[in-house]
């Protein structure tokens, strides 16, 4: 592990996790139970417990590795880790925090593009109509992710089963919802 550390103790991700989530990462004693129960651990470049370990060391280089990892974008927030942690460390919350930091600092792993564009498409659909407009979502996502031909077979089947209403539901409080978005996301998209 490289020797470089932060100038002040408040800069590290661990410190911020403590400040914002009240989660004390020093509680983690690296038993690996979180990773052991994680449904996608095998797909991750960095398992949850490895990630916690890197955060514990509170070094810029290691924090960077965490933020840039692909694994955090595979987390399904299924909360199995938090549920079983013997030290009651809320691992899933930490994952959430790390992801939002990665976005904020614009260092998210390239492979997160699809996932992010899906979520953004999802939110945009709400931003404008107040509720999710599934066809809109899928279309928007395809554009953003350029996976134009994905699931083309599925849509008609769904449509035939009345699972894809053609028109969006517009709620009255659309302005309210717009405002909510502005006051939280602000200009961010």
């Amino acid at each position: 592990m490289a020797g470089v550390t932060y100038a002040t103790t408040t800069e590290s991700l661990a410190a911020q996790v403590r400040q914002h989530l009240g989660v004390n990462l020093s509680h983690c004693y690296q038993c690996g139970k979180c990773a052991a129960g994680c449904p996608v651990a095998e797909d991750m470049d960095m398992t949850s417990c490895r990630l916690l370990r890197l955060l514990q060391l509170q070094q810029p280089a290691l924090d960077q590795r965490v933020l840039a990892s692909e694994g955090i974008w595979l987390c399904l927030t299924c909360e199995t880790c938090s549920t079983r942690c013997p030290q009651e460390v809320e691992v899933a919350k930490v994952m959430d925090f790390v992801r939002s930091e990665a976005i904020a600092r614009d260092v998210a792993h390239p492979r997160s593009r699809d996932i992010l564009s899906f979520h953004r498409a999802f939110l945009d659909s709400i931003r404008t109509t107040g509720r999710l407009y599934e066809i809109g979502l899928v279309a928007d996502y395809k554009v953003r992710s350029r996976h134009v031909l994905k699931d083309v077979a599925l849509a008609p089947k769904m449509y035939l089963r009345g699972k894809l209403p053609l028109l969006p539901h517009l709620i009255k409080g659309r302005d309210e919802v717009k405002r909510i978005f502005q006051r939280t996301l602000g200009r961010r998209r």
């Binding site: 449904p39 996608v40 797909d43 595979l74 399904l76 927030t77 299924c78 909360e79 199995t80 938090s82 549920t83 809320e90 899933a92 959430d96 992801r99 939002s100 976005i103 699809d114 996932i115 992010l116 899906f118 979520h119 953004r120 999802f122 939110l123 709400i126 107040g130 509720r131 999710l132 599934e134 899928v138 996502y141 992710s145 994905k150 699931d151 599925l154 089947k157 769904m158 089963r161 009345g162 699972k163 894809l164 209403p165 539901h169 709620i171 009255k172 409080g173 309210e176 919802v177 405002r179 909510i180 978005f181 006051r183 939280t184 996301l185 961010r188």
Partner: protein, 284 residues
Amino acid sequence: MRIGYYPGCSLLGSSREFDESVRALAGALGLELVQVPDWNCCGASSAHVLDHKLSLALPARILAQAEAAGLEEILAPCAACYNRLASARDALDKDPVLAREMEKVIGRPATHKVRVVNILEVLDRFKDTLPGLLKVPFAHKVACYYGCLLVRPAKVLHFDRAEDPQSMDRLAAAAGAAPLDWNYKTECCGAAFSVTRTDLVARLSGKIVADAVRAGAEAILVACPMCQSNLDMRRTESNAYLGADHQIPVLFITQALGLALGIDANRLGLQRHMVPATFAPAAV
């Protein structure tokens, strides 16, 4: 009995049958569903992933709407909505500062005291009346699948036990079904990755389907639209992953109960499933 109702977006679209079966069942049980006026989307996992504040604000508005309508308790059949709403309520309840902040964001005061309950909790209140109403016992071996969102995080939801939950099994039994002891009750199905990482969903959902089949189930019962669509709509992919051809249908618990109460299969939306679910009630 009267209760607030928050269908949530997917129940208007990809999971219409859940909405339909809930309403049909409520009718049969004499439960009046009062829809939350002009409700908005809860933000689902997208808001959760992208922005913490937003993931609280959207539910906050919903709770405020319910409160304004004089509702004390709202039923959110969609497990995702239930989870987001309950989590937000919990957070706002625990942290007054945050609550005030959210009031600013949604632009009006609110106590956020409205209780959020899931469909299993609500149906459990009818466990005594159910047997009496039974017309066509749903006499099938079933694997009750809870997924993540109904039971985790336990600290917030306080519903059933986090490992090997029982509430749905009890209901299924009440409907005349034989709930099986199996291993994937609370394993994750892949959730919101259905579109983006279909490969993961195929694997995770595949394992679930496989274990249900191994246990000898004739149907998988769920109470979550995401689980249902991943296990049902993604069957082609999961079967491909398993290299198998599992045709086990995936029903919402409300559909199973509905059939048991002799409600017509189409009113319960069984025709909408990808994997054919034909439990035509042999009329008595």
